[in-house]
Symmetry: C2
């Protein structure tokens, strides 16, 4: 739960002037401390004349309020913790943007950390951020260690789980169903007449959500009495190169393949590049389908078919729900299959 880590080296720059405090401002303005506090937070009542005096003193002294002290004195904290699996995937950066944009307008500050898709690290990071007594903790996905869950419950702060709704939410979940996305993708491919379908994916053990899509996809095929013609699951994070190598591998096996479902757009883009390089005609010889509908895949010579996911919206909505003090709930923001030129 708590480990005695060795001290972080604190501010090395020695404070030249002992920083201005609220008391200094009060003295300068010739009013009481609480009055300054009220004016600065625009909270409670005070006269216009007082406000002017205080603001003048603040300006003159270059006072910057100390939120650390403020947060300690008032019990609530304006901090929101955001813990994401990775930043190299644009998906999480999008979520982060959405969250911070909605938060900053309300005077909240984001503290954040990256888990590298490691649940144990997530647990450690949750412990670390809880020490800051955040008003809310945002996590990606619904899968967490028991320790993480326990700490989160005990902390009493709001918990927002993002980008997934397939499972049990701790408090609020905002996202969409990956399982359903996988299912519908399969349905769409079948509708278009493809029957020899391959899957090229990445590291399922760590990326739970791509695993859920894969399961949904298989279910979609099974419903039509079909199964995957080929599959290649790379033991690495998703990337263009893995996607390219993965498709190359699948095709090298010689079995006829008329469509390929990739675990996401990075992988699909790699597959697309493989086809371009090998002069494999798309979609005549082979159809490609990705996931996320990244901007980049909309601007390839032939736009790659994909599934649009509301990433920024997920972040924004989560922040809003938290700000509103919404009750525990699961918000399904849905997804949209976008046809490209590749199916």
């Amino acid at each position: 739960m708590t480990c005695a880590e060795s001290e972080p080296a604190l501010t090395p720059a020695d404070q030249k002037s002992p920083l201005i405090t609220l008391t200094d401002v009060a003295a300068e303005a010739g009013v009481g401390e609480s009055t300054v506090s009220r004016v600065l937070r625009n909270h409670g009542s005070f006269s216009e004349k007082t406000r002017a005096k205080v603001m003048a003193a603040v300006e003159k002294l270059g006072y910057v309020p100390n939120k650390i002290a403020g947060a300690l004195a008032s019990t609530g904290s304006p901090l929101v913790a955001i813990i994401v699996p990775s930043l190299s995937n644009i998906v999480f950066a999008d979520v982060l943007s959405g969250v911070t944009k909605a938060l900053e307008a309300k005077g909240h500050q984001a503290v954040f950390a990256v888990t590298d898709y490691d649940p144990a690290k997530e647990e450690a990071l949750v412990a670390a951020v809880l020490a800051w007594r955040p008003a809310a903790v945002m996590l990606v996905g619904l899968e967490h260690t028991d320790g993480t869950r326990r700490m989160l419950h005990a902390s009493g702060c709001r918990v927002l789980e993002l980008l997934d709704i397939d499972g049990e939410a701790i408090d609020i979940a905002v996202g969409f169903s990956h399982h359903e996305a996988g299912r519908q993708t399969a349905a769409r491919l079948l509708e278009s007449g493809y029957r020899n379908i391959a899957y090229v994916g990445h590291d399922l053990k760590h990326d739970m959500r791509s695993g859920k899509r894969f399961a949904g996809f298989l279910e979609g095929l099974a419903n039509a009495g079909l199964e995957l013609a080929e599959q290649e699951i790379r033991d690495a994070p998703s990337s263009v190169s893995e996607g390219r190598a993965g498709l190359a591998d699948v095709l090298s096996r010689g079995r006829p393949i008329d469509a390929v479902y990739f675990s996401n757009d990075d992988m699909a883009l790699g597959g697309y590049f493989h086809c371009l390089a090998e002069r494999i005609s798309i979609p005549d010889q082979i159809a490609l389908m990705g996931f996320n509908a990244l901007d980049i895949c909309r601007h390839t010579p032939q736009p790659i078919a994909s599934v649009f996911t509301p990433r920024i919206e997920t972040g924004r909505r989560a922040a809003e729900l938290f700000l509103e003090g919404a009750p525990s709930q699961v918000v399904d923001l849905g997804f949209t299959i976008v046809a490209g030129a590749t199916i």
Copy 2:
């Protein structure tokens, strides 16, 4: 400097149990508060027996130390603020990863914010983060408003400016010279025999660093007595679609062009897609050169020539310098021109 924004709504979840404090742990363990504090921070001396008692109490009560209180009591703060222009550009996400990875090992916590390339917003965000009394503030680039500089100076905390060294640093700067990168890119293109060179760029007013590369590039051409054959500067953030449209535009003007320098790899990738779509042969008909050496551009059918920039390394190094308490300095991490199949 400071504005009276209206209150953020604080923790809406009502604390069920008045959270465990260090005093509770001390009582449970039958020792003094300072002893618990010493054990938990592994600081000062205490017996193994005491340590065990304290840890047992911590475990039993599920105590999570309150760093807000800790930071207030000790003057230094283990918070580091990171302010980036954007998150949609992978470059800044990389820097962020580098920074947080190096920081978390040392018990520091990152707080972060996004400016959207707006210096005024940067100033507001600096004011906001300074209220958390961070041990360091990390910013991208060397261009800041006077207000930002003034606040940063007055704060007395370390200031790290990342990804640029062409200019006056406030405290520590870590990065490389964009001007020089532009110059060397021009030299390289000239070396390869190209003479009818075009530039396709994005929004220079906001992205200072791409402006510096452009200036360096022009200088490189001028040194050889040349100037740009064509140029197209999009009034938008860099993206694949802008790059594609930009190149299309330049080529439509009918002037012979044998090489194109793009403001970055996103733009270059767009240009590459345009060539693929229009069956323009690369590099026979036209050579392409980007900037950043993104992974994705290394895996296109023909790898796109680019300039590798040490992004994660910049973040890591900056964090290390801060942790070491290094003196003010400018660290040039350099860059590397990487040949692709497109020049």
